[in-house]
Every structure is written in structure tokens, then in C-alpha cells.
Amino acid sequence: MFQRKRSAEDFAEEIRAHLDLEAEELRQEGLSAEEARRKARSGFGNVTAAQERFYLKGRWAWLDKLVRDLRFGVRALRQSPGFTVTAVLTLALGIGANTAVFSVMNAVLLRSLPVADPQRVVYLRTSNPPRGTGTIDSNETFSFPVYDALRNQAKGLSDVIAYVPLSGSKVAVRFDAQPEEAEGDMVSGNFFSGLGVALPRGRGFNKEDEANHAPIAVISSNYWTRRFGRSPDVLGKAFFVNGVLLTIVGIAAQGFEGVEGGGSTDFWIPLQNRPELNAWGNPLQEGKNYIADQTWWCLRLIGRLAPGATPEQALAQLQPVFQSSAYIGLGSPMEGEKRPVMSFAEAKNFPGFDEQYGKPLRILMAMVGLVLLIALANVGMLLMARNAMRQREFSLRLALGAGRGELLRQLLTESLLLVTAGGALAWGFAEIAAKLLGRWAQIETSLAPDRTVLLFTLAVLALAALLFGLVPLRVAMAGGAELALKTSAATSNADAGKSRMGRIVVALQMALCVVLLVGGGLLIRTLRNLQGTDLGMRVDGLVVFGVNPNVKSIPEGVAFYQNLMNKLRVLPGVESVTVMEERLGSGWSDNSDMTVDGKLPNVTNGSSRTVRSNVAGPDFFTTLGVPVLAGRDFVDSDTAASPPVGIVNEQFAKRFLPNQNPLGHIIGTDDGRFQMRVVGVVKDHKYRSINEEPIPMAWYMYAQIPVIGVMQVEMRVHGEPLAILPSARKVVQQIDPNLPLIRPMTQRAQYETTISGQLLFARLAGFFGFLAAVLVATGLYGTLAYRVSMRTAEIGVRMAVGARREQVVWMILKDSLVLTAVGVVLGIPLAMFVGRALATSLYGVKPLDAVSYSLAVLGVLVVALVASAMPASQAASIDPMRALRTE
């Protein structure tokens, strides 16, 4: 089959020879040389056409062969639809799961920032901010003076870019009458130019825009599409952010949704200097915004390395600038104080994603890798079994003169057809799965599979094709033509080597299945623990939304909220209403030391002095359903005019006021400026997230403290909590038509966001464990059924000589039970290893959880028994006479 193809020149040569011979003959018949040549030529007809046809034929022959092989392959596969469907589905699930998880991993962990030359871009980080500063994130945010110093003296960095959100979540915007919410950032003038983000429409910002705090905005392509349906006349459109008028001047390049992972920024505006647009949406601190307050470390910074500078050089040049500017507004560092150290983090991908999703995604990738392994082994075994059944067909064809190469080519074509069909199905499956994954994980960045994902999938497919190519090779190398002459199943199929190979593969699959079931079990128990966690309150019936009123003074703010609460309380169906500063279950909290009776409390060794505090309104604990153990809840009559009161939780009382009645003690801020009397002790409950441990907490009364800004309104209602929102919205907008409800949702949904990653992970892992079990079950069934069918004759003989039904069934069952035992023995140590790797992702379950292990073993056993029962009962119902007659 490897003969050299005939060249077109050779063919032309042959035609020339023909013409010569013809002419020669004609000359012998008496024609002149000239005449003979002419006649020979005309007798031949069109020489060029003949050559053309030869050339085409070569092509056609090749294509013809391929088409013939493909048609034969399709026919062969259609003859055994059970095998084909199983194999294609198995491949599609195995490969699709891998593609889906890989595309998420690609988008989250591997894909670069959508900026020009991302290798030259760095995130600025600091070891710790100096003492006496307020921070958003102690390693990732900087003060305005630091930003100012770095950009003015930067040598190592060609651009220092600042950006800061207008709100911790979303900010109020209004285009028309109806207020809405969007995600917006204030950025430095070099944001787009420094990052190298193109603006296909309109313009970006420049230095002057930043210096003048120009009231202009650039929107993201995503927001443009979502909110404006890509209308071209959006440029020049005016809108309000927290009541401030801005004009849209540009649309950013598609795919650019900000430089922080997870969220998707809708619009950017130059750094502003007005009270309504403070960084993070915070209220002014003693009348100062983020620019005036030199000790508030709230800006995020990104740098672009100057041409030719290495990160180390740039850092060395900037470190002294950073360390001196860090103390602007603070005075000199204290004796022995460790100065903060700046560092760079690579901007190859989104920051924070790795910590948040890195480990679970890698574990998931490993899991789906195992699923793929099982799937490939399954299809390989199915192919092997199928080809072995066709052994005699092959032998017969060999005997009839088919080339071994032709046989191999046909088998390869069949494998290729399977892989292609499986791969196509897998791609569709993966696209849907990746979309679902993204929605579950609340990743708003695009997860659409890109070229990397495609390459990955093709690589997996190539691996599959190669593997399945080797399987038929074995068959083709094995039995020769003489096999056709062997007529007994006993002789033609007792290939000891192959069956040992099959047993090893089944046992390994069992082991992998145990591992996946244990992993899935541990995570599903984690999931149930998380969902079943007692939050310490009656969370059903609660609905929460944020409001950011435009108020000039504290009394005005208090009056706003008191008025709002009064109006909401009288809505039909509302049981009670309260407000708070940090929303429960949002992950945000205010942590600091607090004084107790005028001094910082002594704590026993090892425990922390940190108190988590929140600001709450009247009826706070009554509304939440948190039991008040001693004293009272906040009430409407606690006002700025009455003595300041505070409430603490059990942990606070136990740690800082052990063996005393906490009521009546005075607690306060660590600088001693604000003091309040404890009037209540409440039961410990979950505050930031579902999986937190209880820590000391204290609550301030919102109407008595010197700050007011965005507050979260919590309402307890009868019936469906979300149904109250339209009337609540109407109430808010009667007071101020600019105010949207910020992130309205049920309190339960808010808590669940804190475990969404774990929920997703546990659900997926459980799903893949189950998928693996199903795959192993089908594989096992196929293998066992095949083995039984191979032993039909043997069983017939056994029954003919008096074996009982039960004996035959037991013989078959014993076979798979032995395999199961081997698989379990192999799988348990592996599962223990995996359990340890999972330890940090577990909640309320130990890595060596006996229940999960027992269930996994039980699961494998059930799979083995179910998969064996059918073939076994079939074997037992064989009529001995028929079994023997089939030979």
C-alpha cells in the first residue's frame, strides 16, 4: 500500500510513446513520416484532456478511497448502535467536562489582562500600611499622597495609574426618570493610555481631565451593549451619578471590563473632588474626601514598567519615594516602627482570582482529568471487546485477500469517526457547561472558549484518537488469516493476555471511582453543612437593600433614615424595619480594638482583642430575629440627644467582661473619642459570612455617631420578601427621585453569596463523582457482558454437565466482586490523599469522614453488582443446548 504514486510526467511519457508507436506502424503501412505523425495524433484525440483526466483520477482515487472508508465506517458503527451511542456519549461527557472546566480555568487563571503588553504591567502592593491609617485592603490600597509622589517622581514606571470604585458594590446612576445602579470607577487621566486600552468610539481621558476633575465618562463595551443596545448616539449623552451630571465621551474596547477580576466595570470617570463622589462611596471623614484625607489608604495602583527597566530596578528606584510619602499626614514614623515595603504583583491575570478560585479549579481540573481517564479507558475497552468479537470477520477478510493495512485503515477510520462525533458533541456540551459554571461562580468576565481552549480540546481529542488507534493495531497485529479456520469460541477467544489487561483496567477504574466518590461525598456533606448552618437568626422573610442619600449633614442624614423607616413600617405586610451600615452576609466588616471601661481590655493568652463592629438602627435585633439575652434592643428614642448606648454579643461579654454583668459597662473606640454604655447582650450569630467562627462584636446606634452615609435597609415582611420591593422603591423615590435601591435581595440570598464558591465547587465535584460512577458502571457492564458472552460455550458445557443456576451466577458475580475488592483496596489510600488535599475546602467534615468512605465503597459495590446482575442472569438463563449449538 505504500507504492510510489505515478507521476503525471510518467503518464505524459507513456502517451508520447504511444504516439511514436502508432506513427511507426502507420509508416510501415506506407504513409509518409509527416502524415503518419499527424494521423497518430488525430487518432488519439485530445492529448491534454487525457492528461487532465489522469491527473484528476489520481485525486479522485484518493478521495474515493476515503469516502469509501468513511461510508464503510459509518455503516459498521450503525450496525451496533448501542456501542456507538455509548462510546460517543462517554467521549462527549469526558471531553466536554474537561473543556468546560478548562475554559473556566483559562478565563480565570490563565488569560492575560486585556491590555497592551500585559507582561510590562504590574499591580502595586505594600507589606503593611503605616500605623494610624485607615485602609480598604491592607496590602492592595494606597493613600493619595503616595500616588501623587510615585507618579511625579517615577523613573522605573512610565505610568502610575490609580483607580478606585465609586462604591463597595454599585452606585446610583440615572439616565432618564428611573434611577438604576451600575459599577463605576474613578481613574487617573492616564488610565486608558497607560494600560493601552483602545477606544474604538469617542475618546479616553488625559492629564487635564484628571487635574480639572472633568465631568466626563467612558463606558464599557459590555455596558454599552447591555444598557444601550449598542446605539451609536450614546456619545454625548448626559447622566447622573449620585446626582452629579456627567457626559459620556467614549466607549472602551470590547473585552475590557476593568482590571479587577470577577466584577465588570460599567463606566469610568476621571478622579473627582466632590463630596458626592468619594472613593468607595464612603461618607466624608471629618469633612475630608479621599484626596484631602491623607491617611486613608483607599486607591488601587497599577504601573507600567518604563522601557528597558526590569521590575527589580523600578522597585529599587521607587522604594525610598514610597517609604517617605507613606508618612505624609502622619508625621515621622515611631521609634522601631517597621516601614511599609512596596512590591509588584504580576498583572498576567486578574489579581485575587488565584486565591479565590485557583485551588478549587485545580482540584476540579484533576477530577475531570480522572473522569476523562475513565471515559477513555471505557471506550478503549469497548472498542477492544467489539474488535475481538469481530476477530473472525477480520480473519475471514484477511483470508479473502484484504491487506492487513486496509483492515487497519478501516479500524482507524471507525475510531476517528467516534472521536470526531464525540468531540463535536463535547464542544457543544462544554459551551453550555462553561456558561452555567460562570453563572454559578458569579464570574462576570467572558468565559467564551477561545483559541487556547480549542487547542486544549484538540489535544485531548488527538490523545483519544491515538489511543483508539493503538487498540485496533493490537487486533490487526494479532489474529492472522488462520484464525478463520478455528471455529470454537473456546479456542478463538481464550486470549489470556487481553482478559488480564481488561481486569486491570476495570480494577483501576474502580479505584478511580472510589476516589471521586469519596471526594464528591466529602464536598456534598460540606455543602449540606453550609446550607444547614444555623445563622443565629430567623433569616427567612428578610429583605435588604442599600440607599445612598444625598445629605449635607449628620442631622439631615439621621432625619432621612428616620423618615424612611417610618414610611416603610406602615407599608402593608411589613412587620418591622431597621437600618445598618455594613450589610449582613456581604463579607464586609469593621474591625478594630475597643476600650472597655476606659482602657484596652486584657485578654488571656492567645486570644485576640479585635472587635467586629457595625452600626445599627432601632429594632435591629428584633427585626433580624436575634435573641436579646439581657437588656434591650436599640429603640427610636436613642437619639443624638440621649446618652450613647451600645450592644455587644455573648463572645464580647465572655472575652472582655468575664464573670460580670456586661450591662452598664462603658465601651468605646480605641482612640477613646466615642464612649457608650452597654444596654444589651445578644446571642452570637453569623455576621460576615456563613462559615465564620463567632468573634466579639459590638453595635453602635446610627443616630448617635458622628458619621452617616450609605445604609442598608433591612425589612421583615410577611410572605414573599421580594414582593415588597416595588412599594419600597416607590417610598424611596418619593423622598428623592435620584435614589435607586442598591443590590436589593433576600437576606438568605445575600448570605449564600458568601458560600457561592464553595456551593459551586461542592455541586460540581458531586456531579463529577456521580458522572464517574455512571461511566464506571457502563464500562463495567460492557466489560462484564462481553466477558460473559465470550464464555457462553463454557457456561453451556458447565450447565450441561450439571452446574446449577446459582453456581453459574455466583461464578460471574465472584469475578466482579474480586475486581471491586481490588479496586477498593487501591482506591482508599488514594482517596485519603485526595481528602487531605481537600481539607481546606471542607466545612464541618473531617477529611477521614467515615460516612463518605462507607458510602463511596457502598456506591462502587452497588455499581459492580448492578453491572454484573444482568450478564449473570443472562448467563444463568442460557439453554445449554443452544449455547453448544452456536458453535
Partner: protein
């Protein structure tokens, strides 16, 4: 197409018959393309007209199927020519195709003759 319209006594070859004719010709011994064409025309008493272009394509097809094999050699008058000869497979095919053809012509004859009696 191994056929060509002609208004004289010659008739066009039925599709598929060219292969059989080539195989039959080569039973006599190795021969080059021009010789095969001549022989077919001569032995059919000049009834069959062989389109030379088709002939060579057919030769190539048979070679691809390994029914015949080819090698360059010298003709009786010392000219370079590509000689074709039958393979074992080709012989098998010739037997089979001849049988088929016989059955076909017999069946055709039976039908045509029967019609003649009726008429």
C-alpha cells in the same frame, strides 16, 4: 466515458466493458497501451472504437486496483513503451467478469429472441 458516438458501423463501448476487454487482451501476454488499442480494434473486426484517452485512464485504474501491473520496456521495434501484464487478482477478475458478461449476453439474447418469435 469509454464511449464515443460514431455514425459508421463501429459501436460505442458499453460502460465497464473496456476493463474486461483490456484484461482479456492481456491474457495473451504483456502488452503496451497502443498494442492493446490495436488488438481490441482488430479482434472486434474494427467494430469497437477505443478512445485512447479513456484507455489510458482505464489502464491506470486497473493498475491502482492491482489487477494489472506495469513496467517500462522496449517494443518489438526497439521503442520505449510501458508494458502491462495481468496479476493473479486480474486473472480472477477476468474470470468473474467474463462469467458475468456471458450471463448478461445470454439473458439479453433470451429476451430479444423471445420477442422475435412473438413478432
Amino acid at each position: 466515458m469509454a464511449t464515443q458516438e460514431n455514425n459508421d458501423a463501429r459501436i460505442a463501448l458499453l460502460q465497464g466493458t473496456l476493463d474486461l476487454l483490456i484484461l482479456r487482451t492481456l491474457v495473451l501476454g504483456p502488452c503496451h497501451g497502443q498494442g492493446v488499442a490495436r488488438l481490441i480494434q482488430r479482434q472486434s473486426e474494427e467494430v469497437f472504437l477505443v478512445d485512447h484517452g479513456s484507455l489510458y485512464v482505464a489502464l491506470q485504474r486497473l493498475e491502482d486496483r492491482k489487477w494489472i501491473r506495469a513496467s517500462w520496456g522496449l517494443s518489438e521495434n526497439n521503442r520505449k513503451a510501458r508494458f502491462y501484464s495481468l496479476t493473479a487478482k486480474g486473472r480472477e477478475q477476468l474470470l468473474e467478469k467474463t462469467g458475468e458478461w456471458r450471463r448478461l449476453t445470454r439473458a439479453m439474447g433470451l429476451i430479444l429472441d423471445a420477442q422475435g418469435e412473438e413478432a
